[in-house]
Amino acid sequence: MTLAPETTDLTIEIALDDDWFTVCDLRALLPGRGVAALLPDGRQAAVFRDRSGDLFAIDNRDPFTGAAVLSRGLTGTHQGRPFVASPLLKQRFDLSSGQCLDDETVRVTAYKVRTS
């Protein structure tokens, strides 16, 4: 994760099998909100930016409902760790690890993110 001092012209990339996949311009991402990206294999990633500029990406699919909506949830900080709350039934997911904070048996994929 990189803190970018200059936001123009920077693009966000996420790591897929040792390859970096370009998602969008950094400025497309509003601090505190997410966007969804379609991955080459048909999966979806939810990409977030927090207020300090850190970037995160997890699977976009809400494992509790099957809908691809995690990118539209509200983000926050829980005990110092960033999370997103599903907009459907409000389960929270740690953005760095994909771990569900309300059900320890559930975890979604987390991706590495960088800007370039």
């Binding site: 505190g32 979806q44 926050g76």
Partner: protein
């Protein structure tokens, strides 16, 4: 006891009023319904109802609302209840009761709860057409019908409690009302001359004419035999088309007399301390028909309940006795507080009065003090706030001087004597006989932390409700004393309540969430991102106050966009498969055919599922996020705006068709609903707001289940607040009556802004009303009487909201930067989300979702109407 029917002894209860019902409950609580056959003979056509609240029928309560009988209770306990079938004869020798229907019941124990009948003075023509009594729901129905069809002037004989209620009801029905009272003052039993004078002034100001010190000599009738007036004892004649006798009640003891039971000289079935008749150990008498062992007939419900408990306990061979009761009462009569307690008339020897009287304000307060300083009793008219505390102190020497207890706040000497000064044995709730110690115990031993919990645990405050204020003070004091640190903070990020954050945002003009979090958040949360609880809550506060604090009124602007719940962020309702639904605003539910066609066309063109909603709207489901702006554009072109069918804001204002078409309507409810919806649309609030306007008392728009509901009257509008459907239904409370259009709007402005200011996050108006100290009375004081002096500010805030309202959907489709957010994928704006798929069902379509186990986060905030503390 000997059994007559097999081995099961039989209890026959004659009379199913409030006291009768309580007796049945007491039997059930003691397990007697399981061991006995219980037969109830009820004369009225309906089972027990709340006779104390009878008059509320005229402010919109239905007979069903007044019912106190849970039929499930009756059937579960195997009680045989015969309504409309009174007992006619009792054969004590054979221990048999015969009902009007001819049914005969053997009894082992007979309980008479026959109540009382209205006293009608023996004047000529007292039974003429147009003469009524005021005792049962049937009486009220008859009065209502006659008043609406045949009368313009009504006279009430009797200026006591019921008389005043009856006069108020006649006035409410549009009649000119007179009160004729034989005694020299109103409410002669409860208040003294000074109190009566204060009451008189207030009652006359309401437009009722009062004649005291005169008796009724004759009812004058016309040629058709109907009432035309009455002759009074001072020689004058009063023209009136109807007369309501409300001159007191007499015990109904005829059945007892007929079977040879002992009755008192002035009526009433004579019973001992166990409520057993003195003449027959197998017969009991309870309630208003009984002459208690202290020689009194009690006409109040609380002593009746106590007698019911006593009789049930005695039948169960438990020890109990009724030796007399406190006649303290606190009432709200035509909006005026009237209370009397203890030795209100100062009959004790050597007692002294302490009186505070302010005729201008309609205030009168008198305390009766014994020689040694003991508080013996008192009378409060106009302001009875201190009733709960004073009554509990009765019989003891209060820790402060009596003068300070009656002087109004701010008059120098006044002392707010808190209930913490009460002894543990002081009775706080006299309806259920709950002491302060029991209430403290509920907090300390039963872990109750809120008033509703304590009510449930102890029953305190569930009778007449006059002690709820004291209850709240006791609960808080006890919590503080036991060192329970109740964290009232909004969430892990803020230690303040929503109300406190509102005040901070307003006072400091804070327009940024990060700013608020970094300056006022909990230490450990500062510099962070907040959470899913505080972000939308603060977003809502900033949106509510936007024009006043100088924030943008557009919820997708700048940082505000990041605070909004997903529905507010996408300006539509997220559905389970990730698609959205769109509900065009149809103010008041009124829509022209052309617009209906447009909605149909849009739904067809975008392949949407349509359904009529409960709020008189048309919901279009299944829109993909990238379709939303296209749908809004079509709506805007046709003169619609999309609607806030989501989010914590005004949802809909429903209406019935009203005066314009309906033959019963008395006002234009549709126009009022449209006006209200357009005024309050877009108003961000702690929870969603629903409203409705009905064009007459038939209430087809169901306004009483709304946060603010309006019902038309012949004279204007009645405003109800705090109603709720959903998981915890609650009927709305009447806030004010007969308002003009302007008065109505002004009052709603104030009410909504006060709610937005003081409610918790996700606290509907119904829970808020129940929770805030002082409840409905306090809210009425603040928004109607401006007791806090904030009404100007509340109105100003609402004016600013109305002036700055913008169509968020139109604004979004005209803003390319915002439009860019409405895509399924940031890297493939033209690709729809493949997870959003549909399959056909009943000529339309439904979401096609892969099978997944659906987990629910165990959070209270999913349930509507549940308190968030």
């Amino acid at each position: 006891m000997t059994a007559t029917q097999g081995t099961t002894p039989t209890i026959v209860l004659v009379g199913h009023g409030m006291v009768g019902q309580r007796f049945l409950e007491a039997l059930a609580e003691r397990g007697l319904t399981a061991t006995h056959r219980v037969v109830v003979l009820c004369e009225e056509p309906r089972p027990a109802y709340d006779r104390v609240a009878l008059t509320s029928y005229f402010s919109g309560k239905t007979p069903e609302d007044l019912s106190m009988t849970d039929m499930e209770f009756i059937t579960t306990h195997g009680i045989e209840l015969y309504v409309g079938d009174p007992a006619e004869t009792v054969d004590r020798e054979a221990k048999k009761v015969t009902a009007r229907s001819g049914q005969v019941f053997d009894y082992d124990t007979l309980v008479l709860a026959t109540g009382s009948f209205p006293f009608v003075p023996p004047v000529p023509n007292k039974d003429a057409e147009g003469c009524f009594v005021y005792r049962t729901i049937e009486d009220l129905l008859a009065i209502e019908e006659y008043a609406k069809s045949k009368a313009t002037v009504g006279a009430v004989v009797g200026g006591g409690l019921l008389g005043l209620e009856a006069a108020g009801a006649l006035k409410g029905l549009g009649l000119t009302s007179h009160i004729v009272e034989f005694a020299p003052r109103l409410m002669p039993v409860q208040v003294d001359d000074g109190g009566g004078a204060a009451l008189l002034r207030t009652i006359e100001e309401m437009g009722l004419t009062v004649h005291t010190g005169v008796g009724t000599q004759e009812i004058v009738v016309g040629e058709d035999g109907a009432v035309t007036g009455m002759k009074l004892s001072d020689g004058s004649e009063l023209a009136a088309d109807m007369v309501v006798f409300s001159a007191g009640v007499r015990p109904r003891d005829q059945l007892a007399r007929d079977c040879g039971l002992t009755v008192g000289e002035r009526g009433g079935i004579t019973v001992d301390e166990q409520c057993r008749t003195v003449a027959d150990p197998h017969v009991f008498a309870i309630g208003e028909c009984a002459l208690a062992s202290d020689g009194r007939v009690y006409g109040l419900v609380a002593p009746g309940y106590e007698q019911a408990e006593t009789a049930a306990a005695t039948i169960a061979s438990d020890e109990a006795s009724f030796t007399g009761a406190d006649l303290s009462t606190k009432l709200k009569l035509l909006g005026v507080d009237v209370a009397s307690f203890g030795d209100a008339h100062g009959t004790a020897e050597d007692c002294l009065d302490v009186v505070y009287s302010d005729s201008r304000a309609g205030l009168y307060k008198k305390l009766v003090i014994g020689r040694d300083g003991t508080l013996l009793g008192g009378i409060l008219v106009g302001d009875a706030d201190a009733y709960g505390t004073l009554k509990a102190f009765t019989g003891s020497v209060p820790p402060v001087s009596p003068e300070s207890l009656v002087l109004p706040a701010g008059a120098g000497e006044s002392v707010q004597l808190g209930p913490s000064a009460l002894p543990d044995e002081a009775i706080v709730c006299s309806c259920h006989n709950v002491s302060k110690g029991t209430i403290r115990g509920a907090v300390t031993d039963h872990q109750c932390t809120t008033v509703p919990e304590v009510k449930k645990c102890t029953k305190a405050g569930t009778g007449c409700g006059s002690c709820v204020k004291v209850l709240g003070q006791l609960v808080n004091a006890e919590l503080e004393a036991s060192g329970v640190e109740v964290d009232k903070g909004l969430c892990g990020c803020f230690g303040q309540t929503r109300e406190e954050l509102y005040e901070i945002v307003l006072a400091l003009r804070i327009t940024s969430f990060q700013d608020l979090l970094d300056r006022h958040g909990r230490e450990e949360a500062r510099g962070g991102d907040g959470c899913e609880v505080c972000k939308p809550a603060v977003g809502s506060i900033i949106a509510s106050l936007a024009p006043t604090i100088g924030a943008s009124g557009y919820v997708l602007d700048g940082e505000q966009a990041a605070l909004q719940d997903t529905n507010d962020h996408f300006l539509a309702n997220l559905q389970k498969n990730g698609s959205y639904s769109v509900v065009p605003r149809i103010p008041g539910g009124e829509i022209a055919p052309e617009k209906l066609i447009v909605i149909g066309e849009i739904a067809r063109d975008f392949g949407l599922y349509t359904k009529i909603t409960g709020g008189q709207r048309i919901d279009m489901f299944g829109a993909r996020v990238e379709q939303l702006p296209l749908i809004w554009a079509r709506l805007v072109d046709a003169g619609f705006e999309s609607g806030h069918a989501y989010g914590k804001s005004l949802r809909t204002v429903k209406s019935c068709v009203g005066q314009t078409w309906c033959r019963y309507g008395v006002q234009d409810s549709v126009k009022m609903a449209i006006d209200l919806e357009l005024r309050y649309r877009g108003l961000r609030s702690p929870h969603k707001l629903k409203s409705a306007v009905s064009g007459c008392q038939r209430e087809c728009a169901e306004a009483q289940s709304k946060d603010f509901g309006v019902i038309a009257t012949a004279n204007g509008w009645n405003l109800y607040v705090g109603g709720n459907g959903g998981a915890t239904p609650r009927h709305a409370d009447l806030l004010a009556q007969d308002l003009s259009d302007a008065e109505l709007v002004r009052l709603i402005d104030r009410f909504l802004m006060f709610y937005i200011r003081t409610a918790d996050r996700l606290e509907r108006t119904s829970t808020w009303l129940e929770r805030i100290p002082g409840g409905l009375d306090h809210v009425r004081d603040v928004v109607v009487h401006d007791s806090l002096g904030i009404c100007d500010e509340l109105e100003q805030l609402m004016r600013a909201h109305v002036a700055h309202y913008r169509d968020e959907w139109a604004e979004t489709i005209n803003d390319p930067e915002k439009l860019a957010r409405f895509v399924s994928f940031v890297n493939a704006p033209d690709t729809p989300d493949p997870v959003v798929a549909f399959v056909p069902e009943r000529d339309q379509m439904k979401p096609d979702l892969p099978l997944l186990s659906i987990g629910m986060r165990p959070a209270a905030d999913v349930l509507e109407g549940s308190a968030q503390r």
